[in-house]
Symmetry: D2
Subunit: 260 residues, 4 copies
């Protein structure tokens, strides 16, 4: 059983009438329900309004996959939580970034780039093409699928070249976008998936739900690291794999901590 | 003429007798001299002790390649300078990280990973093997070269898989390390090069100097972006490449700034 | 249950006394036994001496993972079999190349490069370092492990940059080698693993057996493509996802086959 | 001065009235003229009809960059020439594959994959988006540019994940395609560029010509390997970088050639 945690910013669902109409229980609840329809996944939710945003080291330690949706309040996510999530990823937790989470602190932190793009909110047609048909994230999908009304995101997408490009979107207004990208950060599998503007019913779409479910399975790394994921251990001279004798000048005593 | 700027932390050279003996004018000066021996490169220096660490937006704007050596004082580098350097990289400045700069804030910022490793200071033999013989950074090098006394850095190196692996080191004590790695971040070329512990005369080595000179040429991107490298421009509906009509509910007015 | 097929050249085991002593039933049998110790894997064997080398389209269709060991008789493998294996990989069969299979026709075919290296047969010590500790192929392994007697393979290894570098070897004689590399070719996961010279008991080593078992699990893609994996279908004008009208001159009639 | 060689199949230009009208001197001549407009490039041409297709080892040795356009006669290109070109690439010659050369023997040889796609010849609008704005191949280009009439190529494109994705195309009929992809094979830089159907005047387009010119500069590797690019040299025991003593059984005598 894979333990998923769906994190939602949960702002527009409460403050914007249109969004509240589409996602009365919040987008996070809709996404968690999609995942829970898979017998191999057990999904919970957390939101920005929860104490510590619903994210503690303990909770992350028992989370296999974290899904992240944010938009209006990226800046309100505490840096402490961002570092907790990053460390969990390095130690093997999967992370799935949704739509406007391209500008989430955690995504920018893990990518090391601006993560910017162009955009247009016109309810236009988006068609997602599977560019890696054999990829586990694309399992059971048709060659392409349509979201009749979506926000446009356009290239250039300011991210590092992906490990694998799984989806590319075509937009009615003339743009394209790399909509499904995989990365590895430490032991953690990371997937960015573009669709999901809050004024449209994207997370009710059967193909989108299949992508999310597939992505949770793909991102699952059952081998979770323990201990200090940032450790830079000194190897004592007499513990070197091959026998050597220290020589020359030194800054450090044997076994000492290094500078950071 | 490529404009290089060699940034040195310049602490151990002033405070440690051994290091001062090896690099009386500072490591940055030794490295800059190596680069200035190439008629196509004009290298200056800056240090942590300079006002604003010697790094301003204006200076970076006229710098093609920044080389970075730091060790004992990573934490003293201001976050403002780190962001200035990151932005310069995104817009096309090359960045070359040297040795203990694996833990520099700027490298961790650009990689999005812990950048940790194992280490041992025993003055042991390091042999660097060229794994990409046709790469411009390896130009003119033999298949391998030796640094008789160096600090050991060992795998696992906590970085994303590189664009290209140019060097791998063999250590006398039994470890290996990916010692030359390339990355692209935005328009900027990034190169990490392992050797260079301050108690050894590594930066006087002819092969090391050739690597640095080659890397400066390789990292040079004459096409430097201008403007806001973090911009995420809204494309107005009537400016869409293909004619479309807006439909459905919207969060934003046309042309409005998005959330960040 | 994952279906594995271990293909062995099976020449030195029959013709060379030393190798026959180490692997009396053939290397393929030893490797298959290692895999069959895992309750989730069912491994069979095939050899060069079998009719059609033991490899037919039908057998490949029911094979999830093919492991390949060859050395002295790469040239004797029929081009028909090479193409069958390549097509199976493209459609989702996993392929694990062992040691001297770096020069197997199928590996060179899939890599598109010379796949050459340097080598020395001196029974020297090899130490494999895990460079991607969270990778499924490294699951349950220590940070490094030793094979006391192995053939040396040295860089440069003439392959494309890997998707992921999982192991790097240190050799007693001074060389290094990227010993565990992953690739994707079509829907097929490909893994090259260096150790396994036939005069040494490498495939009895517990860590090596763990790597092979892990690799079989990692390479398994349950989503196998059917149909012509080389198809380049014409999309008729009236079947375009968006309505368009054909215009301008044409070489082809609608629905016609293209040139190949 | 970079020496470029433009290879054209030169069949439809002679046999099809429409194509002859667009490219009266052949597509290769049109492309070579575009390159020769750059003072740093000197471009010649060769065609399938020339003796040995105009391609000999000697000619390749003095060629920095080979551009390849083929469509109707891939099968007529001799395997000897394909191997000559591959070897030249491994040793550092740049190779630029144009449009229907996705099915050229040399491209499939270097990629190790089917290189297939979907297609439609309807004279529809193609818009190429720059996905890597800082890349040398995109130098001086606008964010996107339009080819009013082109053949459609659609995903999935059966190639390995690229080193860098430089262009993605939007098609009027609803498809997308990764239209500019870079690879490294040995010391050779490889670039695939999609546009260029022979019934349209694509190679007269200013942006297309800029891409080709940029790509020639980008692909140029001044460091050309000599000698046998497939060599797998034995390192004699007494020539090991570190002193070792041979032990254990051996297949080979010291210095002997290995199996291939």
């Amino acid at each position: 059983m894979i333990k998923a945690l769906v994190w939602g910013e949960n702002i527009h669902e409460r403050e914007n009438e249109v969004v509240a109409g589409v996602y009365p229980d919040g987008m996070h609840a809709c996404i968690a329900a999609a995942l829970n329809a898979d017998p191999g996944i057990q999904a919970e939710t957390a939101t920005l309004q929860d104490p510590e945003h619903g994210i503690t080291a303990e909770r992350l330690a028992r989370t296999d996959i974290l899904l992240w949706w944010g938009h209006a309040a990226h800046a309100d996510v505490s840096d402490v939580v961002v570092q907790l999530v990053a460390d969990a990823v390095y130690s093997g937790m999967g992370l799935i970034l949704l739509h406007s989470a391209h500008f989430a602190k955690i995504f920018k932190h893990l990518m090391g780039t601006p993560c910017n793009l162009t955009w247009r909110e016109a309810g236009e047609r988006e068609r997602l093409w599977v560019t890696a048909p054999g990829h586990p994230i694309a399992r059971g999908l048709p060659p392409s699928f349509v979201l009749e009304r979506e926000e446009m995101y356009g290239e250039p997408f300011g991210v590092p070249e992906a490990l694998e490009t799984v989806f590319i979107s075509w937009f009615q207004g003339g743009e394209v976008f790399r909509s499904g990208l995989t990365y590895r950060r430490g032991a953690g599998n990371v997937f960015y998936f573009r669709p999901g503007h809050e004024t449209y019913p994207t997370y009710y779409d059967a193909n989108v739900r299949k992508v999310l479910t597939n992505a949770v399975h793909w991102a699952h790394n059952p081998q979770r690291a323990t201990g200090d994921i940032h450790a830079a251990p000194n190897v004592r001279v007499n513990a070197a794999p091959e026998k050597i004798v220290a020589r020359g000048p030194r800054l450090h005593k044997d076994g000492e901590d290094g500078f950071r």
